[in-house]
Symmetry: C5
Subunit: 156 residues, 5 copies
């Protein structure tokens, strides 16, 4: 049985997990999903850890929302290092979906970014879990983006 962990926050302003679960359920109907909601991004690593280590999840997808101030970005560095260390400890993927409050000025634009990023990264997770190491290789170097339109490859 495949188990996927989902970590999100009450700080975020869009329910990205819901979007991702739609994609995950559609593509992995056989999987079990365990959701874990924490206050903010610095609480995400321990939640992801507990889902991987204690709940036996095979992978985790996390949804962070980062404020626009410099200290928020510093918290983002700590989050990123934490999730990478966790992945080195466990050998399992933690797909980190992060939206930065200052990526767009208009809330409607932020909303679109968040939903698109959540859904596309959910699909990335599906591909990695079902297809393994080379599942994404046909897209290698193709300039794919999550939250924005793909920019495409640069050719000679």
């Amino acid at each position: 049985m495949i188990k996927v962990g989902i970590v999100d926050t009450t700080f975020a302003r869009v329910d990205m997990a819901k979007e991702a679960v739609d994609v995950l359920r559609e593509n992995m109907p056989e999987a079990v999903f365990i959701r874990y909601t924490v206050p903010g991004i610095k609480d995400i690593p321990v939640a992801a850890r507990n889902l991987l280590v204690e709940e036996g999840c095979d992978a985790v997808i996390t949804f962070g929302w980062v404020g626009s101030k410099l200290v928020d970005k510093y918290s983002y560095i700590a989050l990123s290092i934490g999730l990478i260390m966790l992945q080195l400890m466990t050998g399992k993927h933690v797909i980190d979906v992060t939206v930065h409050e200052d990526e767009a000025e208009k809330p409607s634009e932020l909303y679109k970014i968040a939903v698109d990023r959540a859904r596309k990264h959910a699909l990335n997770l599906v591909r990695l879990m079902k297809g393994g190491k080379e599942a994404l290789t046909k897209y290698a170097g193709k300039g794919l983006r999550q939250g924005y339109p793909d920019v495409g490859p640069i050719v000679e």
Copy 2:
């Protein structure tokens, strides 16, 4: 018996731990609280560690106060990484309540931020400890803030 650790500093300018303990005692009257006061934020991780590992606390809440200079922010990065690594090591929550000296110009405003943040995060800790992984899920993506009014979700 539930044990909650509380770490604060002599550098801070508001007794945030007192505010948090009020909330914690009211909502977890059965719990035992162990307080540990250190000089500044870089001393917080080892105190939190000792409360979790040696005293057997189930979770810790920490209260940091960060100066306004760039090097203070760099200390904040180190603190944040340290607390995240500690959580990865122990699998237990360390709710990190931090106030930045430059969040407000007026001391009275800083005071309000600190008290609000301490009390709301204490409640977050209560919910996580009593309700588990999905206790906060109804607030996921709802734009909750600690120290400020909630900003609310962005809807399509």
Copy 3:
């Protein structure tokens, strides 16, 4: 049997792995190559770890592409720390080939940088794997560059 791991991303805009594999195959025809494609740079460390630890690769070469925004650079810090920690854990080389989107304004220039960097670092890996600790010593302090022309040594 020598096993070399290759990690790249779908975020990148040039298929650097292909360039590197050309060089690797030509110089190590006896080696086996395992490729692992992930979405972005923060997914690289766990892929490299799995190639080293689970697949038994002797070394890994990774191809990252970093956006031009400050938060992209912060992700780069996390990536770099992660790959260094992985190397400390395993004692194996992970040659990290990174291109920054803002290294050049013209796409054609970025393309040249990426290809040159990938090919030269592939050759570095060959030399380290076949020649050992002193294979590169004749070039020590010689101002070699990957992605750009060598700048050469400074002499008294």
Copy 4:
């Protein structure tokens, strides 16, 4: 027998360790002190580690001096993370006394900052070692400063 480790550098411009040892000896006449001098701040963590792990020190106090350039501050980040990780590994306090070259323009002012900070943090160490977790609790949130006059608490 209480053992306290003292780490300082040849880069520093004030003999802070001497000041701290005065305070430590006066308040812990029964303790043994082991001093370890290294070139600069990035050498401090391993010295502190060896004092804690190999010499069996119960705690360490370190004296760093940081240059005014940005890369000096980056070294400070690495130092801070290192000392925090060491404390997480050992569960022992490492009180980190750091002076930044750019805290004052006049050398005489820097001197005063360094001496005051060293002496006050030595006293913090005494209190933590002799009084335990709540020894500093009466000062929690009181706005104590080392190197400068206390700024005091903010009251409602």
Copy 5:
């Protein structure tokens, strides 16, 4: 038998290792030296690790050269954290000699900085290895510099 490891890069523009080996051989004629050359600074930690852990070196001295761009400085942070973590793991000194491309505008000046820094730090390593913890204590707080003239202590 004393074994000293030496790590340098092909990115550097001055053969600092040669300078350091001169000093080391003169002062530790009985020691064995093992040199390991890697492409750039992010490859230094694993090389230092292998010299300490696999080759049994008692200490390592590393020679890094950092570009002038912000991302080069970010690589420097990762390098510094890596070398500190390695020292915490092994309890052995890794003396980190780093030159920043932007320390001087004139190549001849950079050359002088690099040579002076390499030779002085080699002497620091000799003193620590032969004299132990207090070998440098007579210089504590004396404002010694490597790469530049000593700035001297600040006196009251």
